[in-house]
């Protein structure tokens, strides 16, 4: 049985020695951490009753995939904001390619200080990003401010409850976007604290399981490539990655890690 070791770190070039576990994690997770994909985005859109007359704000829009999807599916006007200039540039590129006729626009902005006047949106969505905001209460208050009375906010995000195995804790700390996941009750509390009335909490743990299984398939492909000697992954321990994925699945099964949608309404 030829189960060889990955190359010793000393044998690799300097730039490869700089591959930290966080980069490896990014490699596995891909560019966007979005369990549930477009299916969940559309579900959010349905729950927010989006129509061609709705003006939607997509906070942390990333490279714009969800914003475009919502415009295509529901006909709504969508404004996407993101903190990263590169993401906004990529998003604008996507929009011009799709010829959406000005329905979808993007702007670089900070979720905790939105560059919009009061009450100028009918709906706000924030997918898998709320947990990354340093001041979540401020962000929630901003969502409330820019919504017209009676407007709704829809969040989808990672949830965590209770303690996780230490290896999983340390991995999560490297992945910025899920480091600060909260129990779903905490998201609801933050929204209530910003004068929202929570109307729906919907669990979508299955989407997270599916996402992790995609990662495990990538691990399988990576391991196959490595063992066929078509790929070397210096500094990246496949065994650790496989164990982490297993821990993540166990944590979901035990209810410690999950994914949920929360919908709340501003007072009419």
């Amino acid at each position: 049985m030829g189960r060889g070791q990955t190359p010793a770190p000393s044998a690799v070039k300097q730039c490869c020695a700089a591959v930290y576990a966080s980069d490896a994690a990014r490699l596995l997770l891909g560019d966007s951490f979005h369990p549930g994909g477009t299916r969940l985005t559309e579900r959010l859109g349905q729950m927010l009753n989006l129509t061609p007359r709705t003006r939607v704000l997509d906070v942390a829009a990333g490279t714009g995939t969800s914003a475009v999807r919502l415009a295509e599916r529901f006909g709504s006007e969508v404004v996407g904001v993101d903190y990263s200039r590169e993401s906004i540039e990529a998003a604008n590129g996507q929009v011009s390619a799709k010829k959406l006729g000005g329905k979808v626009t993007f702007k670089c902005a900070d979720a905790e200080k939105l560059p919009f006047p009061d009450a100028c949106f009918d709906a706000v969505i924030c997918e898998c990003a709320f947990c990354t905001f340093p001041d979540k209460q401020a962000a929630a208050r901003e969502f409330n401010r820019v919504l017209r009375p009676g407007g709704q906010v829809g969040l989808s995000d990672l949830t965590r409850q209770g303690s996780l195995p230490p290896e999983l804790e340390s991995l999560l700390s490297w992945i910025a976007c899920i480091a600060d996941a909260q129990p779903v009750s905490e998201y609801a509390a933050l929204l209530s604290g910003a004068a929202f009335t929570v109307s729906v909490v919907e669990r979508h743990d299955g989407a997270l399981v599916e996402f992790i299984n995609q990662i495990r398939t990538r691990l399988l492909a990576a391991e196959v490539m490595a063992r066929l000697q078509k790929l070397s992954l210096p500094g990246f321990d496949l065994d650790v990655a496989k164990t982490l994925a297993r821990h993540a699945l166990a944590a979901i099964k035990e209810g410690k890690l999950g994914y949920a949608i929360v919908v709340a309404a501003k007072e009419p």
Binding site: V12, R26, T63, R216, L220, A221
Partner: protein, 509 residues
């Protein structure tokens, strides 16, 4: 004083009165059916000479014995691959009469439906001596029926992974392309088309349609010799058409799984050549060997001498000079572990690397535990593309960009390399379906391959073919044909009617 007779009796009575052991190990008890009258009866699983047998007795029709598995050691060891099943979102039946008469699925079933099979018609452009579907003129489903069956499948599964269109010969159904589209529109990830390949070989317009909807192909292919095709398919000159169809599928880049039925004494000697052929042919991503079983139309045969999974594996090992060996094959935990075995191999320049030799199978077993992998090469391709997606998106982590551009030790594969790796993956699957001689209720309860029917019932494959479901369904499906034609003539939608089953009045007591 004793008479001669009494003396003889005494002698007989005093003859060797030491007990002898039976020649077999009584491994377990299951339930089966009588191959003649279909009554449900107990069956013993016996181990003898490293083989596994089923021994049963019908009170009316007498004793029956069949070979189940030609490797008792492997059979016993496979219990470690028996993993928890998955629960479907809804059941279409109730547990009333008891297994196997409550299909399906009833709440006593131990697995969800991984694969839904829709037989769209009964007619075929061939008349094979071996046909578990008993193909012949009879019925032809409407789009309304197929759409309803697909909706029912989604209702019970949530996100069904695979649906397979079969028949008869599904490619000759006038609406087959619409059926494929209907399945794809319902978010069913993989749509497979079962076929003998004839229409693909002959019909350019059909090939164009296939190119557009791009289903996965499940392609019947028993070997290369005229005698093979004469005996099994009734057409000795079939090979040319089969090869032409496969080449045309390669031209449009569709992925094909070839499906050989292996009958002892007919084509087991062709197994090696089939494997080599699959390795070389650009369209073929997998082989599913199916030992011939005695349901529907079948060739006469001795149930004690049938081909079982270990027999096919031994032929593969012998005929490929060890490119594949027995330990490369892993029991599939999705159904009962002794029903299916599989291996995946990377093939490059004639060199074959079965993945179980380079990976720890136990790390990835749940990858195949509660699902069917419809196209492993597609999975690998998607996974590899996903792995490197961050290096191709603007604005990704700077150190990863450095990795992509300047680091040679990391050798990130480009799109071409990914494609080559994916296309070089070959799956070899072995599926041993049951028939009235080998039917075991234990295996049936964990079956993950179901026939979908109008009205929403899902009948496990081996129950449908052996217990009597197929016959009852066929009768009803054929009886609906006049109404289907009327609806078509009058230009109105056809109202699907549910298929129902009755085992009370028909049971032999």
């Amino acid at each position: 004083m004793s008479t001669v007779l009494e003396t003889q009796n005494e002698i007989r009575a005093n003859s060797d009165r030491h007990r002898v052991d039976s020649e077999y190990v009584f491994h377990e008890l299951t339930r089966s059916i009588c191959p003649v009258c279909r009554r449900v009866i107990d069956a013993k699983i016996l181990l003898r000479d490293n083989q596994v047998f089923m021994s049963k007795r019908c009170p009316r029709c007498g004793p029956f014995m069949a070979l189940i598995y030609a490797d008792a050691e492997a059979y016993i060891s496979y219990s470690q691959y028996n993993k928890p099943g998955t629960i479907p979102l809804a059941y279409s039946g109730k547990a009333e009469r008891g297994c196997p008469h409550d299909c399906g699925l009833c709440p006593e079933h131990e697995q969800h439906a991984c694969l839904g099979i829709i037989e769209v018609n009964s007619a075929c452009d061939m008349d094979c001596p071996l046909c578990f579907a008993e193909a012949g003129p009879g019925f032809s489903l409407t789009l309304e029926e197929v759409e309803q069956m697909l909706d029912d499948y989604v209702r019970t599964e949530g996100q069904p992974e695979v649906v397979q269109f079969s028949g008869g010969e599904p490619s000759i159904h006038p609406r087959i392309i619409d059926f494929v589209r209907a399945a794809q529109a319902r978010n069913i990830r993989f749509v497979m088309l079962n076929t003998n390949g004839k229409r693909i070989a002959r019909d350019d317009r059909f090939l164009e349609d296939l190119n557009e909807v791009r289903p996965a192909l499940y392609f019947q292919f028993d070997g290369f010799e005229p005698e093979t095709y004469r005996v099994i398919r009734g057409e000795p000159d079939l090979l040319g058409e089969k090869l032409r169809a496969l080449d045309r599928l390669a031209e449009i880049g569709l992925n094909v799984t070839i499906v050989p039925a292996i009958e002892r004494g007919v084509n087991e000697h062709e197994v090696g050549r089939i494997v080599e052929f699959a390795i070389e042919h650009p369209a073929i991503r997998g082989i599913t060997f199916q030992p011939a079983f005695r349901a529907g139309r079948h060739l006469p045969g001795d149930p004690l001498r049938r081909m079982t999974i270990p027999d096919v594996v031994r032929e593969i090992e012998a005929q490929t000079s060890g490119k594949f060996i027995a330990s490369d094959f892993v029991p599939v935990p999705c159904c009962f572990p002794t029903c299916n075995s599989v291996t995946y191999a990377f093939v490059e320049s004639g060199r074959v690397t079965p993945l179980p030799r380079i990976l720890d199978v136990n790390d990835y077993l749940d990858y195949i535990t509660n699902r069917i992998v419809p196209d492993f090469s597609h999975e690998i391709r998607t996974a590899l593309e996903g792995l490197w997606s961050s290096s191709s998106v603007a604005g990704s982590d700077k150190s990863l960009q450095q990795l992509a551009i300047s680091c040679q030790a990391c050798q990130l594969p480009d799109k071409l390399a990914i494609n080559n790796i994916a296309k070089n993956m070959l799956m070899i699957m072995l599926q041993d379906f049951m028939d009235p001689w080998t039917f075991s209720q234990k295996n049936l309860m964990k079956c993950c391959k179901e026939f979908l029917l109008p009205g929403g019932k899902q009948i496990p494959f081996c129950a449908y073919n052996t217990v009597g479901y197929r016959e009852q369904a066929r009768e009803q499906l054929v009886a609906m044909e006049p109404e289907r034609r009327r609806a078509r003539r009058e230009g109105r939608p056809y109202q699907p009617k549910p298929i129902v089953f009755d085992f009370d009045s028909r049971s032999p007591a």
